[in-house]
Structures are given as structure tokens and as C-alpha cells.
Amino acid sequence: MSGGPARVVACPDGPLLVRGDVEVVDPDGRPVERHRRTVALCRCGATGIPPWCDGSHKVVGYRTPRPETPPAP
């Protein structure tokens, strides 16, 4: 990464995409092994591989509210 702060993208109807230096830990504070630089955290609750997204949000029809502000160019 560029050395800037970590960035989280809230993907519409999908996961939180995390880029940058963030430690992901389980409820007891133990680090969760991370296999790639950019990861997707499940926010629909339906994943079979928590905390990561496995695409199940599409199967369960997860919908996030549409933003009211116009999307960035």
C-alpha cells in the first residue's frame, strides 16, 4: 500500500473491502490469518467463512440502503 491510512470501501449490497494495514482479530483478540493484501469482510452475516465474505450475500439477497448523495465520479 501507499503508506496512507487503511481504507474501507462499503460495497453496495456486499462486503466491506479493506485495503491497507489493518489487523483483523477474533473476539478474543487472536489474529485471524489473512491470505491476501485486500480482504472483504462479510457484513450480511451469511458467509460460511467468517469474518471473510464468500459471496453468500448474493444468495441471500442482501441489500444495503441506497446512498442519497450522488455517487462519487
Partner: protein, 377 residues
């Protein structure tokens, strides 16, 4: 590693394979040109034409790992490129003719295009290949599945990589981000092509490039050839971006089912790591490829926006056609390949306690099977 020369499937591929074993400097391509011209006139369906698809695949292979014993100079032979262009024109026209492409409003932004692509991929339920594999496929059928897929997955990601220098800004960064993960993020053993080779070995299959090319029918070749077509032409940079997005969007969920199928057949992580990796990786990639690559490219270069949608729709259509052929053959009790695969070498099959499966004995359905060493060449 180079790919061995395949067996010809008709006059065009025979002429090409003959020519490739000669030196480019003193070769005469008129025979090949005529054979290809005749085949293009005669063919009823270029996408299912064994002779033409094999010819195209070999012409493209000159740009990848190459063909065994073939002079590297053939890659940029103007005459061969001319022959390739004739097949490509008919191949591309067939795709454009048959693949319905969704429309988006002229002022569609990156997010709108991404949503259109996600919706398109969601509509595409296909013939249930991954469900078939999860629930019903036999050991023989999953070996066939790997043989079909080996043509692309042993060079996984390569066709889309051609597009990198043709992009700028956000789409370029997105493609590099996805491809870097496909290539193992710096670890050669985690390269997706290497994980696929490991799955092949776990099933007693030969993981060298093209080992099963002679078994694989035209439509599967057409699916790889379409990726090479999109990847090798700057004109089609929209299509290659859309193709990758659709590919990633239809990957996580099916790969979970494929992994389940291999586990049902008794295989362990050695065989399933490839599928498990794709469940996690492609849930990341589909977001990047959908929004930052395909969506952002469509917004950045509106003139290729329709091709972004075309590339995605072509990916989904080809996947569906290939899957229909496989599920159709298996449901009818036939092989999905041109010739069935050679049997597993009995010594390569062992029961979990280490005893070899007795020669000629079918493994009882549902019994755990461990397939050990690769089949000796």
C-alpha cells in the same frame, strides 16, 4: 513450459501443424490460408468447429508458453497473424450475434455499470454444473471437469493480463490488484495456476500444459480462445475487463460447491485448496473487477462501455454453453470429452489406510478415496 503439438482435427489444423514444424523463413502459408478459408466457408458453427477452434488455440498458444518444437519466430509471422485474423473475425461475429447484451443509460457511472454486471451475473443460473458436481458427479466426471478446465486454469489469469498496458488510472490499478492475487501475491506456490496443478495431481492427472488437449472439445477451446481474443486486441479492452468481472462474479459460490463435491468424493485439502482459495479470493475480486475495473473503465472510456457489457455477457454465455454440454453428457451417461480419459493408474490410487485399490476394482460409491502420486508420464 511448452505445450506438445496436438493431433489435428481437420484440414485447417493439419495444415497449421505441418507448417509449424518448418522454419518460418522458408515456409509457404498458401495451403494453410486456403484450408482455413474453406473451413470458414463450410462451418455451420465456428464456436463448435473442432478444426477451427483447435487451429485458433494453437495460433494463440504461440503468444503464451509456445508449442514444443515450434520456432518462436512464428509468433510474429505476418502470414500467420493474417490467418488468425480471418478466424477471429468469424469467431467474434458469432459471439456478437448470439450473445444478448444489456443496455445502460448513456450517463451511467461506474457504480451503475457494476450493478448492471452484478444483476446480469445473478440472472445467469446456468445448467447447474456446480450443483451437479456437489451432489452427483462421479470420480470420473470430476476428472473430466479438471481436464476441460486445465486448458485455461493452468494459465489462469494470463489472458486478462494482456490488458494491463492498455488501461490507465483506476481500471489499471484494479486489474493489477486482482492479477497480483491471481499470481499468488509473490508466492509461486499460491499462484492459482499452481493450486490448480496441485488439484490435478491429487486426482492422478498429468498437470503439464496441454496434456489433455486432444480430449477437450471445441466449445471448451472456444471459451479460452474468446479470452485470448479479448486480451490480445487493444480494441477489445472493454470486453476483457467485462469478461474478468463476470468471471469473478460467478466464481465464489460455484467454487464452494465444487469443493463440496470433491470432499464428498473423499478428497482432502490437497485437492480442494484450489476451490477454497477461490471462494475467498473471488469474493474480493468480484468487487474490484466489477466496480474499479469494469465499471470505472466504462465510465472513463464511454466508447468501450458497450464492449464491457459484451465481454461480461460473452463470458456468461460461453460458461453456460460449456456447462450445458458437460451436464448433458454426464446426465446421459456419456463422457463430456472427445475421448474418455485414460484410466487412473491403479498404483496411484490408494485407500486411506495406504492399501492400493486392487487392480480393476471400482472404488465403492461414497468410499473415501485418496489419490496419491501423479500418473507417471
Amino acid at each position: 513450459m511448452t505445450m506438445p503439438l496436438p493431433a489435428p482435427r481437420g484440414p485447417a489444423s493439419a495444415a497449421l501443424l505441418d507448417l509449424l514444424t518448418t522454419a518460418p523463413a522458408d515456409a509457404d502459408v498458401t495451403g494453410l490460408d486456403r484450408a482455413v478459408g474453406d473451413a470458414l466457408v463450410a462451418t455451420e458453427d465456428v464456436l463448435r468447429d473442432e478444426d477451427l477452434q483447435l487451429t485458433l488455440l494453437c495460433l494463440y498458444e504461440l503468444h503464451y508458453g509456445g508449442l514444443t518444437g515450434v520456432d518462436d519466430a512464428w509468433e510474429w509471422s505476418p502470414a500467420l497473424l493474417g490467418v488468425r485474423a480471418r478466424i477471429e473475425a468469424v469467431h467474434e461475429a458469432a459471439l456478437r450475434d448470439r450473445v444478448p447484451v444489456p443496455e445502460v443509460p448513456d450517463d451511467a457511472g461506474a457504480g451503475d455499470v457494476a450493478e448492471t454486471l452484478f444483476a446480469l451475473a445473478a440472472e445467469d443460473t446456468g445448467p447447474g454444473l456446480s450443483t451437479f458436481v456437489a451432489r452427483r458427479a462421479t470420480l470420473e466426471q470430476v476428472r473430466e471437469l479438471l481436464a476441460h478446465r486445465s486448458l485455461y486454469h493452468l494459465k489462469e489469469a494470463d489472458p486478462h493480463t494482456w490488458a494491463i498496458p492498455r488501461l490507465q488510472g483506476r481500471p489499471k490499478a484494479a486489474l493489477v490488484e486482482v492479477q497480483s492475487d491471481e499470481y499468488g501475491g509473490g508466492d509461486p506456490e499460491r499462484m492459482h495456476s499452481a493450486l490448480f496443478a496441485r488439484t490435478m495431481r491429487a486426482l492422478g492427472l498429468d498437470d503439464r500444459p496441454g496434456a489433455y488437449l486432444d480430449h477437450v472439445p471445441a466449445l471448451t477451446l472456444a471459451s479460452l480462445n474468446s479470452m485470448s481474443l479479448f486480451g490480445l486486441h487493444r480494441r477489445l479492452r472493454g470486453a476483457v475487463a467485462g469478461h474478468l468481472a463476470a468471471f469473478e462474479m460467478t466464481s465464489s459460490v460455484p467454487n464452494r460447491l465444487y469443493g463440496n463435491g470433491f470432499r464428498r468424493l473423499g478428497f482432502d485439502e490437497d485437492a480442494t485448496l484450489y476451490f477454497d482459495e477461490h471462494v475467498e479470493a473471488d469474493a474480493v475480486h468480484e468487487q474490484i473487477a466489477g466496480r474499479d475495473l469494469a465499471g470505472a473503465l466504462a465510465a472513463q472510456e464511454p466508447e468501450v462501455r458497450d464492449d464491457v457489457l459484451f465481454g461480461a455477457a460473452a463470458c456468461l454465455a460461453l460458461d453456460t454453453w460449456v456447462a450445458q454440454a458437460q451436464v448433458g453428457a454426464w446426465s446421459a451417461g456419456r463422457s463430456s470429452l472427445l475421448h474418455p480419459l485414460p484410466d487412473l493408474v491403479p498404483a496411484a490410487l490408494a485407500l486411506p489406510d495406504g492399501r492400493a485399490v486392487p487392480d480393476g476394482t471400482a472404488v465403492p460409491a461414497g468410499a473415501p478415496v485418496r489419490v496419491g502420486a501423479p500418473v507417471p508420464a
